[in-house]
C-alpha cells in the first residue's frame, strides 16, 4: 500500500539563522505514514517537529532528499493539490484575524475549487458538518478574538476537516485545552481515524496523549530521528532521560495499559 507521506533522506536548514546562534537544521530524516495510521512525533523543544510539519505542507522545501505524498513527489504538486490531501492544524490563528468562525472554516474549502469566487452550497454543507464534529457550530458567528484558546483550536481543527484531507498534521492540538476537551479531542481524532481512515501525524509535548493515540512514535532530537517504534519501544526511561536531559519514570496507564511518562521531580 502506498504510504500517505514518505520522507526519504530529507535535510533542511533555515537559510538565514541569526548570527551567533547555532544553525538549526533537519538531518537525514526518513519515515512514512501509512493510510489510517497515527504517528506521534515527539521530542524536546527545538527538535525540529514543527519544521517537519512545514516541510510536509510545502511551506518549506527540503534542501536534500525527497518527500512523497501518496507516491507523488511533493515538489511536483501544486499548493491546492497538497491542501486537498494534507491539512495542517496549527497551534493558533494569527492575532487580529477579522473573520468569523464560520468564515474561517469555509476557508478550508478553498483548495477544492480555487477558481470559484463564492463557496458553493456543498462547500457550506461540508463546513457545517466539520463544525458539528468539533462542537463549534454554535460559535459560527463569533470572531476568533472572542474565543478561548481551546475553542480556537477546535475551530482550526474544523477548518482542517473541511479540507477533507487524507492526512492531518496536528501541531500541539491539546496545548490550550482543559481536561474535558483534551478527552473529547482524543476521542474525535480516534473516531476520524477509525471511521474515515484519516491518517494523522501528531506533534505533541504531551507524551501520555501521544502514547495513547499513536500506533507508532518517532522521537526526534536536534533535527534528527533518535528512534521509532511502538509507544512501548520508544518510551524507555534510558532513552527519554538521554534525549530530554532529566529523570523520568515510565509506568503503565491503569486503565488502558499504555505507557505513561512521569517526570521524577528533583529535590524532594
Amino acid at each position: 500500500m502506498t504510504p500517505l507521506v514518505r520522507l526519504d533522506g530529507v535535510g533542511f536548514a533555515y537559510p538565514n539563522a541569526a548570527p551567533g546562534r547555532t544553525r538549526f537544521e533537519i538531518r537525514d530524516l526518513s519515515f512514512a505514514v501509512a493510510p489510517g495510521e497515527v504517528l506521534g512525533l515527539i521530542g524536546p523543544n527545538a527538535a525540529g517537529k514543527t519544521t517537519v510539519i512545514h516541510l510536509l505542507s510545502k511551506v518549506l522545501t527540503p534542501s536534500r532528499g525527497e518527500i512523497f505524498v501518496e507516491g507523488e513527489p511533493l515538489r511536483s504538486l501544486g499548493r491546492a493539490e497538497v491542501a486537498r490531501r494534507v491539512a495542517v492544524v496549527p497551534q493558533d490563528v494569527a492575532p487580529g484575524f477579522p473573520y468569523t468562525v464560520g468564515e474561517l472554516v469555509l476557508m478550508g474549502r478553498f483548495a477544492h475549487a480555487p477558481g470559484r469566487f463564492f463557496e458553493s452550497a456543498a462547500d457550506a454543507r461540508v463546513a457545517r458538518e466539520a463544525m458539528r464534529l468539533t462542537g463549534v457550530e454554535t460559535l459560527a458567528g463569533e470572531t476568533l478574538g472572542r474565543l478561548s484558546g481551546g475553542e480556537r483550536q477546535r475551530v482550526v481543527l474544523a477548518r482542517a476537516l473541511a479540507q477533507e484531507p487524507r492526512l492531518l498534521l496536528l501541531d500541539e492540538p491539546t496545548a490550550h485545552m482543559d481536561l474535558r476537551y483534551q478527552a473529547e479531542c482524543v476521542g474525535l481524532l480516534r473516531r476520524l481515524n477509525r471511521e474515515q481512515g484519516l491518517g494523522i501525524l501528531l506533534v505533541s509535548h504531551d507524551l501520555n496523549m501521544a502514547a495513547e493515540l499513536s500506533d507508532r512514535l518517532l522521537l526526534m532530537s536536534g533535527g534528527a530521528a533518535v528512534t521509532m517504534g511502538t509507544p512501548e519501544e520508544v518510551l524507555q526511561e534510558s532513552t527519554l532521560e538521554r534525549v530530554y536531559g532529566c529523570r523520568v519514570v515510565v509506568d503503565k496507564h491503569p486503565a488502558t495499559r499504555r505507557p505513561t511518562v512521569n517526570v521524577a521531580w528533583p529535590d524532594r
Binding site: G78, R79, A80, A94, P98, G108, P114, F117
Partner: protein, 339 residues
Amino acid sequence: MTGPKKLLAVCAGLALVLGLVALLSLLVGSARVAPGAIVDLVMGRGPVEGTERVVILGIRLPRIAAAALAGGALAVAGAGFQALTRNPLAEPSILGVSAGAAFGVVLAQISGLGQGLVEALGLTAFAFAGALVAGVSVYVIAATGRGLPVHTLLLAGVIVGIFFSAAITVLISLVDTNRLGGVIHWLLGNLAPIPAGALGVFAAVTALGVWLVLGKARALNLLALGEEGAQELGVDAERLKRRIFAGSALLTGAVVAFVGPIGFVGLIVPHALRMLVGPDNRVLIPAAVLGGGVFLLAADTLARTVVAPAELSVGVITSFCGAPFFIYLLRSRAGRVMP
C-alpha cells in the same frame, strides 16, 4: 445573508448613492444650470443650447466620471495594499507609491509627452513604472526577516515618499517654469476635465487593475491568516502577492497619471466600508469601487463650491479628512495587524 446576495445588496445601495451624488454634483457649480436642462439633455430631447450644454456635457460630466473612476481606483488600491501588507494603514500615498508614480509622470511630461491618446497610455506606463519602483523599494526597506512590521512599513513609505518628492522638485527646477503650467496644480490632485479619449484609457486601465485585485479576492481573504497559513490552505502566496501588488500599483499609477496624486482615499474608504460590510474582500472590493467614487466625487464637489468661483484642489479636501483619520487609526489599532 450569504455572499452573492450581500454583494448585490451592497452594490445596489452604493450605486444608488453614487447616482444621487453625481446628480447633485451635476447641479451645483459656479455656472447656474437649471435641473430641467439636465433632464432634457440626459433624455436626449433638446433643444439645450449654448453654455448649459457646454457646462453639462463638456465640463461637469467628464469631471464627474473622472472623480468616480479615480476614487474607485484609489479605494481598491488601498484595500489591495492593506490585504497585502495585513496593515490597515497601508495606502498608496502613505506607502510612497503615489509619489513614485508622480515622479514617473513628471519625468514623462518633461520629456515631452502631451495630452493625446497614445500619450495618455505612455503617461500611464511611466506612472505605473514609478509606482512599481517605489512599492518595491518600500518592501525591500521594510521587510525584516519575517513579515512587515507596521511601523517599519510606514516609515519606509514616508522615506520613499520624501525621496520621490525631492526628485520631483529637482526635475521641476531643471525646466523652464513656463513649460510646467499645471504641474503644481496637478501635484495637489486636479480633476479638471479630461478629454474623452483619455477618459476611456483611464477607465480601461482602472478596469484592468480592479480585475487583477478582485479576481483573487477569495485568496486574498486567506492571506489574513499570514503567508504560511494561506499556503497551508492551498494559496500560492507568492503569485498572489505579485498580482495584487501589480494591480494596486497599476490603479495608483492610472490615477496619478490622469488626475494627480490624491491622498488618503485608499485609507478612508476601505476602512469605512469594512465597518459597514465586513472584511470579506469579495464584497469589500466591489463596494470600494463605488464607495471610492462616492467619496471623491463628494470631495470634488465640495472643492469646487466652497470657495466658488475659485476652486480648491480635491487633494486638499481628502488630506484634510485623511490626516485626522490616519491619526485616529494609528492611535486605535496600530499595534494590531489586520485585515
